[in-house]
Subunit: 157 residues, 2 copies
Amino acid sequence: MMGDKRSSGDIRPIGVVRTTVTDGIDEGWGDVESRIEIDPELADGLRGLDEFSHALVIFLMDRSTFQPASDLVRRPQGREDMPLVGIFAQRAKHRPNPIGVTAVRIIGMQGNILRVIGLDAIDGTPVLDIKPYFPQFDAPADPRTPEWVVTLMERYF
Amino acid sequence: MMGDKRSSGDIRPIGVVRTTVTDGIDEGWGDVESRIEIDPELADGLRGLDEFSHALVIFLMDRSTFQPASDLVRRPQGREDMPLVGIFAQRAKHRPNPIGVTAVRIIGMQGNILRVIGLDAIDGTPVLDIKPYFPQFDAPADPRTPEWVVTLMERYF
């Protein structure tokens, strides 16, 4: 069963995000429209995706940094009204692996281009994977979060 | 703004999955209990995660393969009753980048160990990231999927 395992070092972008947003922002992503340009060799892999209303986009936040001393435990968005929590208990981009995962609405697809709304990634962001949104994988029945999450996210999307 | 960008080739495991499941299976994951062992140097990053009911686990399906000729467009689980769809329109592990994303229930946390239910990853799977489940990122109001998804997922979890 061992064989030639694939390694995390083998991960390569499959495409890129194109949008007018060029700087990381902490609000207003819900109205942002983006184009995901998939490597033309992989374009056939999109077949049938437009029968789904939503997709998960897995992307590389390649302009972010991670400094353990300041980022392993931090206040979300550096806000004084937020608690000190670990990086694995928040969605900040300052992560050991700068991988973003966001559920977006699909609004169009043609050739190797997927058009989506609500992707919180700046122009030029490498895309690592696209998955159809399956409620069976992605939507637990009764998710519970601490109160600070509601405050933090008030204007993000 | 360019500076030293982080590259996909810099991605490294932050931990590993421990479970009694050692072979990929296509059903019954919903009852599987797993332990995620985080690199002890990163254990502080879990602080506060146990205030969430669910987490997204991002993992590397390192025993999977990807052959464009057979995997770019395929029938989910190789089933004759499934349509021919692109790999980005299905959740199969035979992906260009073998990254898995699954929402799991958190049942315990101690030191560098996170205990979860419903993680569809075999023993020894490298973990790339853990994120708290935020409905604002992860739960769109009205996801729609084609009919075949319901049939495919009947016994998966």
